[in-house]
């Protein structure tokens, strides 16, 4: 009970109190201002845009990560015993520190001699340098690629563990009855692991909502505001502008959006598990 209070209730109450007060980094709770911080945040088009952007981003990278992760896990399961090196290599992104992931992908997308630039020129491209991270259209997808690369192995790992937990006799019986390939996966494997996939989808969605380190390292929220997420705005407000009241107000709005998006996923996951 005490740990629940310390880990859950205290931070929540602190954030709510900060959101309802004029609070700076050095002097929290200077004056109660009611809902001023919250109404200002709602009226701020940058905040609203970041909430929408973050929701779309989280949904997109989650769908891609889970699809890829399940596909890789199934492929690994088929080669189980023969691909230990491959399995170890697949975990590499997962154990790479996020800071390194951001720096590596920034170098890959570097328009002056980065890997993408070099490869495209090797294949005959001769136009202006490809600058994904400075394009308002492509910067967020470029970060999403790095995000998917970093976190898909987690999906693979969890789904692979579920596949190993399946009773092999069920698959063997289905195979004897003539089920192979996609039919075997769709009618036997998928129903057996759908609960795990649902749970993994939920975890991946929450991780995607929290995207911060890649954004700081790769774009600093730019160009313009095109990669600015609520997490980045909260960081800016609290630690660069010392405005903890505004940061707390954005945090509350963000928590509300994350809750609204994740509740249906949690409900579906529970049904899949049943």
């Amino acid at each position: 009970m005490l740990s629940l209070l310390v880990l859950g209730a205290f931070p929540l109450l602190f954030i709510i109190a900060a959101a309802l007060s004029e609070s700076s980094l050095g002097r929290p709770f200077q004056e109660w201002v009611g809902a001023d911080n919250i109404t200002r945040a709602i009226a701020d088009t940058d905040v609203v845009a970041s909430l929408v952007r973050s929701s779309v981003y989280a949904a997109g990278v989650t769908v891609v990560s889970v699809t890829l992760g399940v596909a890789v896990a199934v492929a690994l399961h088929r080669t189980v015993g023969a691909g230990s090196v491959v399995r170890t290599l697949l975990l590499l992104p997962l154990i790479t520190p996020p800071v390194v992931v951001g720096i590596v992908w920034k170098l890959i997308f570097n328009p002056s001699g980065g890997l993408l630039d070099t490869v495209t020129r090797f294949f005959g491209y001769s136009g202006p340098p490809l600058s994904l991270l400075s394009s308002t259209d492509w910067a967020l997808p470029a970060i999403a690629i790095a995000d998917v690369w970093e976190w898909t192995p987690l999906v693979t790992l969890l789904v692979f563990a579920a596949l190993l937990g399946m009773d092999p006799e069920v698959r063997e019986a289905a195979a004897l009855d003539g089920a192979h390939g996609i039919r075997l996966f769709a009618h036997v494997t998928l129903p057996a692991i759908r609960g795990v996939i649902g749970a993994v989808f939920f975890i991946r969605l929450v991780i995607a909502f929290k995207a911060f380190d890649l954004i700081v390292l790769m774009t600093s929220g730019g160009p313009g505001q095109s990669t600015t997420t609520p997490s980045y705005l909260i960081y800016q407000a609290a630690l660069q502008q010392f405005d903890v009241g505004r940061a707390a107000a954005i945090t509350l709005l963000f928590a509300l959006v994350v809750t609204l998006v994740t509740i249906p996923v949690a409900v579906i996951t529970r049904r899949l598990q049943q």
Binding site: L25, G26, S131, Q225, Q240, F242
Partner: protein
Amino acid sequence: MSRSPRPATWTALTFAAVGALALSACTSPASGETGAGDEELTVLLISSHEGASQWLKDEYEKKTGVSINPVIVPYDEIGAKLSLDQQSGANTIDVAAPWYVSIGDLAADGSIQDLSEWIESDDEIDTEDFIPDIYDPYTLVAGKRYGLPFDGDTHVLFYNKEILERNGFTEPPATWDEYVAQAKAITENESANGVYGAAVFGQKSPLILGASFANRLAGFGGEFVGADGKPSINSPEAIAAAESLRDISEHALPTPAETAFGEGNAAWFNGKVAFIENWTDLGVGSQDPNTGSLVADKWGVVTLPVGDASVESRASLVAGFTWVIAGNTDKTELAKDFIKWASSSEVNEALLTSLPPTGIDPNRVSSLESDSYGEQYPELQEVNRATLSGALAWPTGENAGQAAQVLVDELAKYLAGDGTAKETLDRVQSEWEELLG
């Protein structure tokens, strides 16, 4: 027959990996060093001042026997680090050198000490010698002095002589229009070989994109805040400055939005850009073989261009750092002694010419005009004299940091193609009026 791993093993590994990830998310950065005995000071500095911190540590210990523990943080985290250190009660920091724009917010939070009486009463500080255009913006908030200037930090325009010669330019640009024209021509002629007209700091940070804008604002004769103390960020001069910044972005090293100090300086040292707006200490680094510079003896430097050839160039105090004393330190007297020494003329003069480069620019008239600086870097001395007459400073005081961020966020949107310069700066003006009054 090969054996597959047991499901239980994989499940255990899975949970171990997930647990490790969860734990890694919960870990906090290592706290700084703790100030131990009376003869020890913990000094918070930004990473650009790491070289200076080593020099200061060695020399101060040699002079007094007092140990200095430098704590180095990224340039945009020093204010938050100091404030959190004081507010949390950790109180590990005794002295810091934050960006001068953050002094107002740090003072309002009680994170730094009011040093007015001490500075006024101690003649040895010799405040008359500080460069006047630096002294007040760097230390004065609402009539109170909160520190002493450390790093002057004004931008000037460096140019690569070889690239200009190759492209038929005999003189560096005097106006921002000439600068754009020359950069455009060079990029058109040489970008196929990886050489560009200019490196433009455009990453979305007040010390980066904000600096590029401030340079142009100074050149077009604008001000952040008018004589009446009210924001004037949507003036015709400011609009011209923003438009000039967007004009050069098309012809700069790809791409300004991704260009911070590291990217821009690397391109300069490798001889890949003709122009770079930078702090005067870049000249020291350009001559230092240890930086890997390929442009030693191939560069020149002039004061920043202007909007109109009839206008005199102005310095822009884009960065600049101030020695302050932490609000809760119990070593105030020792801290005073340290910052008095560290901001003295002899120390500033030594830091200006020290190798490896310390990243420090003049903060005093005497060090700026010193023989050692003039003999080793006569061109830098000359351009730095621009700080002696009417430099442009950022707004200071409470909310100044937030105001700078608002400007930079809106400029970033404008440079990304969102709206006109006037619409952009009108929005900034409106927010500044609320923040700065």
